[in-house]
Symmetry: C2
Subunit: 235 residues, 2 copies
């Protein structure tokens, strides 16, 4: 292989990682936008979040296409192959995270300007901040190929589950207290579930980083607050 070819190949790999980072940045913005639109009942912002989503889908398709072509063209060694497969997996998780943010925005639109229960906005804010922080930290770990930082994200999965469970119980209480809350609380419990799932995808990305760097999957069961989780109606 000539030096020119090697360098073109390295550029391809770097380009792929850059696109994943770009997708990550957009996805973070979508999380922020969706939760701000929820807390402030901001329909315009919610519509904006919904409108941006196709860009993220397109980025994922592009990453998949480029990644597969590089594999077919370069027949990469094991470590580069993991790099590319990792990019494809992370792009897939980011697409799903963005989709969950979009679904929150869609619920804000469906609630049509009804402010969510003021009592629970604090809980949503806390949960969203935790979810966002996990996504940010795992994307930093990806940028640095830092397995330890990825493992930190992976281990902290229980935090967001605990917040979700408590928010969920709270929402149920308000539904029981006053049946007129049932409609909006139903929307809110799906939103809370979406935030919890965003956290799960951050955990998936942490697992992918481990595989990319170490070459073996994280075999252990993911840390879940199982007792709380199974007992709560929210699962």
């Amino acid at each position: 292989m000539t030096e020119h070819t090697v360098s073109a190949y390295e550029n391809e790999l770097r380009g792929l990682a850059q696109r994943v980072a770009e997708m990550g940045g957009l996805t973070e913005k979508q999380i922020v936008g969706s939760i701000d639109s929820l807390i402030r009942s901001d329909l315009d912002l919610a519509r904006q979040v919904r409108a941006v989503d196709p860009q993220i889908d397109a980025l994922q398709r592009e990453i998949e296409e480029v990644g597969i072509l590089v594999i077919a063209k370069r027949q990469p060694m094991a470590i580069d192959l993991r790099e590319i497969v990792g990019a494809l997996r992370i792009a897939s998780d980011l697409e799903r995270i963005a989709d969950l943010a979009k679904n929150i925005a869609k619920r804000v639109i469906a609630m049509n300007g009804t402010l969510p229960l003021a009592k629970v906005t604090g809980g949503f804010d806390a949960m969203a901040r935790l979810a966002l922080e996990r996504v940010k930290r795992v994307l930093d770990a990806y940028a640095q190929r830092d397995v330890d930082a990825a493992l930190d994200v992976w281990k902290a999965d229980g935090d967001i589950d605990a917040l979700y469970n408590s928010l969920f119980r709270e929402l149920l209480t308000y539904m029981l207290e006053d049946p007129r809350n049932i409609g909006s609380c139903t929307h809110l419990l799906f939103c809370a579930k979406n935030l919890e799932r965003i956290g799960d995808h951050a955990t998936n990305i942490a697992e992918t980083i481990h595989y990319m760097v170490k070459g073996v999957p994280l075999a252990d069961e993911r840390p879940k607050l199982d007792t709380t989780t199974m007992a709560a109606v929210g699962l």
Copy 2:
């Protein structure tokens, strides 16, 4: 390329498609098991569904691994490349379908033997049958590489959304009628959402089949009963 090599390559492609079909069969069983466990409040069956899920995850990882290796080793032509990328995408959707079935089973376990509202089991049965039929039909379309059959599945997406919306409204009514129903109805509305999402993944698979055979993505917006969907609290 010698004849021997071509034949080994063809075997690899065939083996990949067979694994996807196997995964599809297991996934169908998981849908049936999860919904039967829900309707009959059968905790043993629910636990069985939960226990099978890791096998399906392992199959997906295996399909991804084999597919990527074939791409790297064989540098396939465009049509074969689409065949392999299609197998990876379908395996990813099947994994998510199986995950949604597992989540229904986990809710059955969390409900711990409380029979769901008898009034809604019919609705769940109808919705589950529709979801299962869509998965079956799209897997048949994959086996036959039949774009028209895949497009039929793709177009019929609205049916399951309509059933979901009506089941959702019904569940809300029972919550409003008697607050003691709120706990179980909350479980059931997540189960209904999971069945709706199983239908969405069948639609994704139909799109993948179109891409595999035709080489271009289905660009149009997916058919959704948008007016109903946005109006309903269930989204």
